[in-house]
Structures are given as structure tokens and as C-alpha cells.
Symmetry: C2
Subunit: 223 residues, 2 copies
């Protein structure tokens, strides 16, 4: 499944100022998010399913796919379009078996070993991180920085040519162009979208930066 | 799916003295457990799947089905026989849809409202609790006691005739006979099995008490 990773909006109830998840999802889609992930490490399963369903309904007609972080059961129950799995989440082989060939499955890439495994994994994108320090997640690993990102993205392109590769952690309007310049096909964003007062405007601004940076890269002005 | 609920052994890594889960499962099966549940509120999904697989493999040939607490994704990935869902876990309708008609699905019954909903739920057993106080789980609700158990079990029999009804929380060799006497078709046990030094012997002892109590009830000596 070909995934548009340009602006990957990650909706985590802990980083929303307590606002309605469905409304936030709709605002991000309206602002130009190309993919949305629902990530929730605390809710009970019944609430996870209800929230994922509400977000999926909010995205109806927008063309923006909904992925669920980690939880294949929640994705299946809510009719989401797939899952994002970290290195300690369900193995991509198992997720693919349970979700079927049409589902979108993405994976977190933190280290060269993870990139090396990409060749054999049934995933539709990789997301490199953490690129910068972030307040959104407890992360025991040090950020890879722009040079680490460039190295991992380049390796991923060698291992799995054509696989979209995004970047995550601490990305906002101030550094998004540099992230794309370092080789990412898109940015995954939590706080810079969903902690913004005007989610739609913040999304639109980021999307503009990404599109311009990708165009510059394609025209050879950078890299 | 007809479920034998006489001795339902619940394996929670927090209540095992750190021993190997597969070996504990095998010991419980050898001692006469009729159903086994893997419950784990802390492990990452990847570990949950690996542990559930190991337990399922350990039960091969014993005839003892393996259920996973809450997590339908883990049950599906590990090839478990079903799930046990609490009132905040995935709705039984969703679990049935994802797991199929052959899976075993059980539900926790804490209150008369839960029993009243039984009529419409695609579940194979109910488990009433907490009957007594327990160290195995944070439980905000007060124990229902033997009289509450008797009342809920009787209501469940009216709502869903023939549905096996178990009991959970604080049940051990000292009170198992009273629990069966109050109307439970079986007992769900955590610590009295898996915190025991000799798991097989503890299981066998409990199974003997349950069988004798069920026989007494069937012959009309009690109840």
C-alpha cells in the first residue's frame, strides 16, 4: 500500500490540551495532514476502540488514512486502515497476518539494526526517530539528530528502495525544512500540530514547509 | 463453545514468584486445571505474544484451552483459544467478530447490571467477582461475598440458562467449597495456584475440593 508520508499527524490524548479527538483529527485533515495516527498508552481497550471509531468517522471522506499505534485489536475493531508498530510492539509479520494485505503497516526505525531488518519486513513505511529531543514520549535512546537521520534514511533507501521514510520527534516549523533536506520523505508531528491553538492553521503551515522542501530537494537545490 | 470452568487457573507474571510461565502452565494442567488464562497488564505487545505462544505450546496435548486477558490481538497472534474480557475491555460483540464463532469468550460480572446484559452477549461463560478481598488486583469495588455471589449466579442462570458461571478473587482451599456451595460452577484462582511452591499439588488439591463440592451440590446435600 503506497503511503503518503508528507505530513503524518500523531494524535495522543496526552498532547491535545484535552480537546475532542475527532474534532482535532478533522482539523488536521482539513489543514493538509496526509496520514493520521491515534496513539494512546493509557486508555482501557473499550475506550481505545470507541475513540478510534470516532476518529475514523471524523476522517470519512477526507482520504486521510487512520493508523493505530501498536494495537492491532483496536485497529481491527474500529476499522482503521492499519497500525504503526515500534520495535517492542507486535512483530510486523504478525500484524500483517492479522490485518491482511491491504492494511498500512509502518515501523519505527531507531538504529542501523532496525534498518537492516527492513528488507524482510512487510511494512509500508519506516519512521526514523527520535530525531530531536521531545516532550511527547519517554525515550531512553539519545536523539539521532540530522546527521543520524540522513545516515539512516540513506541506508533505508538502499535496503528497501522506494519505501517512504519519515522522521519523528521534536519536529516543528523551525526545523521541518532541515529534516526534509536531510532525506526524510515526510515529517511525523505530535505537539506542533495538536498542541497548537489553531490546529488547522498549524497543519497547513507545516504542510507548506514540507511541500516546498520536497520540491527544492527534487529540483536539486538541496542535497 | 462449551467451557469447563471447574478450575480456572489465571497466570499473571506478577503472581508467580518470577517462575517460568510455560512451566507453571504445564504444572497447572497436570494438576487438573480445566481452563487457563494469561493475564499481563505490563509487558510490551511483543513480549505478550511471545509469552502467550510459549504458554500455548506448553499446553499442547493437555486439552486445556488458553485464554488471553483483554488482548484480542495477542490471542489472535499467539493462536490462543479465546479471551477473557472485563467490563472496560473490548466489547464481547467486537471480540466475537474478530475471533470467530469457535473462540471462547468469557466476561467478568461484578454487578446486577452486568448480569442483565448477559442475555445479548456472545459469551461462553461469566465470572463473578470479586468474591473476597484479594492481593492480585487493584479492585475499587467492594467484594460481593458469598451472598452476593449466590444472588448474581442465580440471576445469571435466569438470564442465560446453561451458561457456566465461575467466581474469582481471594478463592483458595479454605473457601472453595463454600464458593461452589453458593452456586458457582467453578473457581478462578491466581495466587492459590501460582504462588504455591508446588503448583501441581496445589492445583490437584483445589480440583479435588471443587469436584467433591459439585458432586455434593448435584446430589442435593447442599443448596
Amino acid at each position: 500500500m503506497k503511503v503518503d508520508l508528507r505530513l503524518y499527524a500523531i494524535l495522543d490524548p496526552e498532547r491535545t490540551h484535552g480537546r475532542d479527538l475527532a474534532e482535532l483529527a478533522r482539523a488536521a485533515a482539513a489543514g493538509g495532514a496526509t496520514l493520521l495516527q491515534y496513539r494512546d498508552k493509557y486508555a482501557d481497550t473499550r475506550d481505545l476502540v470507541a475513540r478510534a471509531r470516532a476518529i475514523k468517522a471524523a476522517l470519512a471522506g477526507t482520504g486521510v488514512p487512520l493508523l493505530v499505534n501498536d494495537r492491532v485489536d483496536v485497529a481491527l475493531a474500529a476499522g482503521a486502515d492499519g497500525v504503526h508498530v515500534g520495535q517492542n510492539d507486535m512483530h510486523a509479520d504478525d500484524a500483517r497476518r492479522l490485518l491482511g494485505p491491504q492494511a498500512i503497516i509502518g515501523i519505527t526505525l531507531k538504529k542501523p539494526e532496525h534498518v537492516a531488518e527492513l528488507a524482510a519486513l512487510p511494512v509500508d513505511y519506516g519512521c526514523i526517530g527520535g530525531v530531536f529531543a521531545t516532550a511527547s514520549k519517554d525515550n531512553p535512546d539519545p536523539p539521532v539528530g540530522l546527521s543520524g537521520l540522513a545516515h539512516l534514511a540513506s541506508s533505508a533507501r538502499t535496503t528497501r528502495p522506494g519505501l517512504p521514510v519519515g522522521a519523528i520527534a521534536g519536529i516543528d516549523a523551525s526545523n521541518a525544512a532541515a529534516v526534509i533536506g536531510a532525506g526524510a520523505d515526510g515529517i511525523a508531528v505530535i505537539s506542533a500540530i495538536f498542541m497548537a491553538q489553531d490546529v488547522k492553521a498549524a497543519t497547513r503551515n507545516l504542510r507548506g514547509i514540507v511541500d516546498a522542501s520536497l520540491a527544492r530537494r527534487a529540483s536539486g537545490t538541496e542535497r
